[in-house]
């Protein structure tokens, strides 16, 4: 007769061994346990985002649209001023009110206040919230794009909570590499094309910011020399959102440059502007610094351009990645960072493995000495338990962290508990003179409620830890939980099956000897 408990036990062992093979032998196929960043080394970051800034940049691009539209339709604006959350302009001609109204009507989510010919435009509160949310989503997408192109294995970028971004980068080797990746993430890559205010350009060096603002201009520093200022018209011609491609090239002096291509709308605006402004200068502004301000020689059609500056090849590559994947609408900042070097991770694995083997050997020897054959059977259950933990984690693609390894070590100590409880019960029954069959049967059933209650309380603590813990700690909760559940199967059902089978075969078992009870002298 086949004993179903034994079948369950053997199936569990087989399951544990088969599904832990890919992990132990690192085979190509099959799901494996992934190592946490604390074990394989890598970078974990939690970023915050200044989403208010997204509203400001929205105002800027709205300003660009209004300026472009008014110039195209010959509408005269007396001034156009962009603030943090709104923009203001004054029309000169009452006849133009209607066409401006029509333009603004097309853009949704605007709050327009009109006093005579003075316009104040802001986003509605709802639209402001939408803009902020979009900025976060866009930042997640942008950072993911950039890191994908950076060439590191399996970057993970995800939104966390309402306004945080989680970035995980395994496989970062050196501090320099880490710094480069961080700089790439943080780069705003906000490209603007701006017109130089040729009328007043001569006075740029001595002008105050306030004076510049009074002309609707803006003073920006040169990228090469912070002290050199450029006086530019405050409203950009267009911005980097019109860029569809960017790549590294070389100029005549064999210096790395970035060639960019605009979409059709950008190409149209660029062509119109350059056509109208031959002989004037066009400033290419990146993240608030003027990269170059070449004189426009002729109308530039085709929608392509070049950014030059003193770049290294790596620097030019990173910048072209950033431009390709788009600008961050709002700047991000560091809230939390954990970075572990690969050598430390390897050390952690080594010491945790030593602890695991040491603890395991101690427990196994102890169980054997204390319970003799019964201890041996319990040890088989314990080994099966370890395989099951590895197998289940591999199947679910769970991450093994350092606390997770500690959890496995702890499981070794705690998983034998069920067998200890059962063995003690059986010993008691033997002392009372029960037959072998009765001692086993009743020993298991007497022990059941205690094992269940005890394990469930530990499980409750582990689940709470999983829900509230972060990163590595979650790994601990996972290994502990799997260990507890597996121990219930291997210890309660599995070892029972072994005894059942032995008894059913009519084998005469000297239970006293089997359970390590000294014969009465």
């Amino acid at each position: 007769m086949i004993n179903f408990r034994l079948v369950v036990f053997i199936a569990t062992i087989a399951f544990g061994i088969i599904f832990s093979v890919p992990t132990f032998f690192q085979t190509e196929k099959g799901s494996k346990i992934t190592l946490g960043l604390d074990l394989q080394g890598g970078l974990y970051m939690l970023l915050g985002i200044k989403s208010d800034k997204a509203i400001e940049s929205k105002m800027k691009s709205l300003g660009s649209s209004i300026r472009y539209f008014s110039e195209k339709e010959d509408i005269l604006l007396e001034s156009l001023e962009i603030n943090e959350r709104s923009l203001e302009f004054i029309l000169l001609d009452e006849d133009d009110v209607k066409s401006i109204d029509n333009l603004l009507k097309e853009i949704k989510g605007l709050n327009i206040t009109k006093v005579g010919l003075n316009f104040t435009v802001a986003l509605t509160p709802v639209q402001e919230e939408i803009t902020k949310t979009q900025a976060i989503e866009q930042a997640v997408e942008t950072i993911r794009n950039r890191l994908d192109q950076f060439g590191l294995a399996e970057p993970n970028v995800a939104r966390q909570g309402k306004d945080k971004i989680l970035v995980e980068l395994p496989g970062i080797k050196t501090g320099e590499e880490e710094q480069r990746a961080r700089a790439l993430i943080a780069r705003a890559a906000y490209l603007q094309m701006m017109a130089v205010d040729e009328e007043r350009a001569m006075r740029a060096q001595n002008m105050s910011e306030r004076e510049a603002k009074s002309f609707g201009d803006i003073l920006l520093p040169d990228a090469e020399d912070e002290n050199r200022k450029h006086l530019l018209h405050g409203v950009p011609i267009f911005d980097g959102s019109k860029i569809i491609d960017a790549s590294v090239g070389f100029n005549d002096a064999n210096q790395p440059v970035i060639n960019f291509t605009l979409n059709s709308e950008g190409a149209q605006i660029f062509g119109d502007f350059t056509g109208k402004n031959v002989g004037k200068r066009l400033a290419i502004v990146l993240d608030g610094k003027v990269m170059s301000a070449p004189v426009i020689n002729e109308r530039i059609g085709g929608g392509s351009g070049q950014i030059s500056g003193s770049y290294t090849i790596k620097g030019a590559q990173d910048l072209s990645i950033a431009l390709r994947s788009g600008a961050l609408q709002a700047p991000v900042f560091l809230m939390e960072k954990r970075s572990v070097g690969p050598s430390l991770g390897a050390d952690s694995i080594k010491s945790a493995t030593i602890a695991l083997s040491g603890g395991f050997i101690l427990v196994v020897i102890f169980m054997f000495f204390y319970y003799a054959q019964a201890g041996l059977i319990a040890n088989i259950a314990l080994i099966a338990n370890l395989f099951v933990i590895v197998a289940v984690m591999a199947l679910f693609g769970a991450t093994l962290t350092l606390p997770g390894m500690a959890g496995i070590v702890l499981t070794v100590g705690m998983a034998v508990d069920a067998n200890v409880i059962i063995s003690e019960r059986i010993r008691e029954l033997i002392a009372q003179g029960a037959t072998a069959k009765k001692a086993i049967e009743q020993g298991y059933s007497n022990a059941l409620s205690a094992i269940m209650d005890a394990n469930i309380t530990t499980l409750i603590a582990a689940i709470v830890l999983y829900v509230y813990g972060s990163g590595p700690i979650k790994g601990f909760a996972i290994t502990i939980s799997i260990g507890i559940l597996a121990s219930m199967v291997t210890a309660i059902v599995g070892t029972h099956g072994v005894y059942d089978t032995l008894l059913a075969r009519g084998k005469k078992i000297n239970l006293r000897k089997w359970f390590g009870i000294k014969e009465a002298k």
Partner: protein, 323 residues
């Protein structure tokens, strides 16, 4: 091998005043420590920066101190050896928000010229994240206790639940006292250890209570103390054994598991000892003081069983079609 062969019950209850006094003393000392010395919050909860540096020779700590002093951001930085002579931990209370060049990069630059070193770990926890983690930690503690309390109340009588929660408070208080005494950095891993301790300590207590509950039905004496004495004696072997195996693994973890999980394994080591002690000597004493009465319990049980039997009889009659 048999450590405790059951021949007769030990009279634990007779000596209970000694244990109670001992426990209260330990708890009082722990609370005093927590109030005066307090806990040493690590960066997970307080925010700040931790940088682990490994030199290829013995770490030049005083030289490092001088170098770090030059940067204002590092004022108040502490440098301590970490596991070995070559390795040190720099703890800084401040953090930076800048992504491109963070406080870790600055430390690397500042340490330039102190020798051949490798920065192995940089942890930066901003103040906002720190306070969030603290709130989450407290919530986790409370929820775990609540969940366990509900489960135990559901499975046992409420006085058992109360007694087991008292044992829990006892264990966690003493473990925290030890953390305060040895000035261990309280980080997330310590919280995990404390939560594990909650589960473990309760695990032990429940095994004893389960036996007491069983004893209430099977042991002839209707004196609670007798029931407790016999039940505790009968579980003594199991409690000691499991505690021993658990202690073995925690000890190996403490000795070989590496410096990073030292605090974690230390907490568990204290926890296993205190948890074992409390489940044998403290929890059942509280049960006695709670005014649990065996006769009333048995009367209630009998009543319950009678109701159950009547229900079953009714069902049987119904099924047979006689009702």
């Amino acid at each position: 091998m048999e450590l405790f062969k059951y021949t007769h019950s030990y009279d634990f209850m007779k000596k209970s005043p000694i244990f109670v006094a001992f426990s209260l003393l330990l708890m009082a000392a722990s609370i005093a420590l927590l109030l005066t010395r307090g806990l040493n919050y690590g960066i997970d909860f307080a925010g700040g920066t931790v940088i682990q540096v490994k030199y290829d020779a013995s770490a030049p700590i005083s030289k490092m101190r001088d170098k770090l002093k030059e940067e204002k951001l590092f004022s108040g930085a502490t440098i301590t050896r970490f596991g070995s002579d070559e390795e040190v931990i720099i703890r800084i209370k401040t953090t930076t928000q800048e992504l491109g060049s963070d406080i870790g990069d600055m430390a690397r630059a500042s340490l330039e010229g102190t020798g051949n070193f490798e920065i192995r770990r940089v942890d930066i926890v901003g103040p906002k994240v720190g306070s969030e983690l603290r709130e989450k930690g407290i919530m986790a503690m409370l929820l775990a206790v609540l969940g366990i309390l509900i489960y135990v109340t559901f499975r046992f009588e409420w006085r058992f639940a109360m007694a087991s929660v008292f044992a829990l408070i006892h264990d966690v208080t003493i473990a925290m006292g030890a953390l305060s005494l040895f000035a261990i950095d309280i980080n997330l891993d310590i919280l995990a250890a404390l939560l594990t301790l909650l589960g473990y300590s309760l695990n032990d207590t429940i095994i004893v209570f389960d036996r007491i509950r069983e004893g209430l039905r099977t042991i002839k004496s209707s004196v609670l103390k007798d029931v407790i004495n016999e039940s505790v004696t009968r579980t003594l072997s199991r409690t000691t054994l499991t505690s021993l195996t658990t202690f073995f693994v925690v000890l190996t973890l403490f000795a070989f598991g590496g410096e990073i999980i030292h605090g974690f394994s230390f907490t568990l080591m204290v926890g296993v000892i205190v948890g074992t002690y409390s489940s044998i000597f403290v929890a059942s004493v509280v049960l006695v003081y709670s005014g649990f009465n065996v006769s009333i319990f048995r009367a209630k049980e009998a009543e319950k069983q009678k109701l159950e039997k009547e229900k079953n009889d009714m069902r049987a009659m119904y099924e047979q079609g006689t009702l």
